[in-house]
Amino acid sequence: MNAIDTLWILLCAFLVFFMQAGFGMVEAGLVRTKNAGNVLMKNVIDFSFAAIGYFIFGYAIMYGSDEPLVGTAGWFMFGVESPLEGVPVEAFWLFQAVFAGASATIVAGAVAERMKFSAYLLYSFIISAFIYPVVGHWVWGGGWLADLKFHDFAGSTVVHGLGGVSALVGAWLLKPRFGRFTNDGQPRAIPGHSMPLVAIGVFILWFGWYGFNAGSTLGFSDPELVARIALNTTLAPAVAAFSAMSVSWMRYGKPDLSLALNGVLGGLVGITAPCAVVNSGSAIFIGLASGILVVFGIDWLNRLKVDDVVGAFPVHGICGIFGTLAVGVFGSTALGAPLQGLLYGGGFGALGIQALGVMACLGFTAISMFVVFKAIDAIFGLRVSHETELKGLDIEEHGMESYSGFQIFTTE
């Protein structure tokens, strides 16, 4: 049954590709009109760079050979063989490359409205050509974490945690947007310019996420498994939308649309690692917690005075960590988990391994991204000038307006 495996992987890869549009729309919708084009440009080019970088370097590092730390063969995909029996390596590459793209583009939203385009270009090449593949290798490419039975099915940590932590490092180094905190340190809202864009983006992401999670089976030999994943990928975000909305309602007096939408994404990230090895009850719980974590995480960043425009760290980082740890709690060997989870009497072993994996992956990410951003800062500068920030990156960096003909305020 090779044909159906390839067909499945390709279709899922197409779906994951489409998530790029989802990220672009969410990010564009949550910035101000004057920066919408810039964030879309970053989104387009980071996928472009992900495809190129993952073709030239990334695949080789991630899957080229199975040393514990990094792969070292298969540059430019030369001479690579498919790790999946009966599935062409091109199909496998594509499925992996769109993951690298997702990981890279998560950062765009966090650093939006102030990061230089040229700096972003360099960053995005580096993350998908080098950083992501290293972590990917450890977990999925036969590296040391794979050997330890660390389980991150579709990438709560590898893709989302990595993207989320990079987003945090970037947002922190870049400092908040002008006006985002008052002089005495109080957070001020800078509302996004288009809720319909955010909403369509979230739906596209959810749609694509079915490919992300259910395609990570890398084949269709076990329909039972794929169906369970699809079910969990529905329940967790559905519940998370509800829990994020409810928390926002209770805390802030009104149900907040953009938090409910962030909640959906948090639920999706949370279920990404455990989707294959937990039952639907656990998926509901993971969704519930993820939605709550997103809202509190956003609050927490405000208190830390980190300006993460779209909530990339709470969504991808916090829920990514949570989801990965959840494997150690809710994972069941009966469903295919490598180690029995806490809830099923496996003790703290699985949880320990999961925690170790998270720390290793995200520790490495944090340190290497810190170095990368600092280096870029030294070369190009990370941040646009104050004047560019005020006038908007669309005009200053691209010489255009995203909404020509509309009467718009460029200040609040």
């Binding site: 109080q186 957070p187 001020r188 809202a189 509302p191 926002s248 805390r251 802030y252 007096g253 009104k254 907040d256 953009s258 938090l259 962030n262 809202v295 956003i298 609050d299 405000n302 909530g311």
Partner: protein, 110 residues
């Protein structure tokens, strides 16, 4: 001639239009603006408080003959008032007027 500038609530525009046409004043110009209010409004966006101090208002501009000023004020006031507030009217002097199509000047151009 006087130029009457009124700041009203956007939702009262239909009522003002009606009362003006009741007073036989058919020509005016409106534009959406932002205006202050006695109290700021607290909103939250993504959990962050946002103090809104400028609110959507409609600015109405209406040039009338001197003799119509009180009628106009009266008509606008009638239409503009609702349970939440009323708005403000200012009266400026107009020195001359031109109707481009005919080249007419002064009162005949209004």
């Amino acid at each position: 001639m006087k130029m009457i500038i009124a700041y009203i609530r956007q939702e009262q525009l239909p009522a003002v239009k009606e009362s003006l046409s009741g007073a036989e004043m058919f020509h005016f110009t409106v534009m959406p603006v932002l205006g202050t209010a006695p109290r700021a409004e607290q909103r939250t966006f993504r959990g962050v408080e946002q103090k809104v101090t400028l609110f959507k208002r409609m600015r109405l501009e209406l040039v009338v003959k001197d003799s119509d000023v009180e009628n106009a004020i009266e008509a606008i006031s009638r239409g503009a008032m609702n349970s939440g507030g009323g708005g403000r009217i200012f009266i400026n002097d107009v020195i001359d007027a031109v109707k481009i199509w005919t080249g007419e000047r002064g009162d005949r151009a209004i």
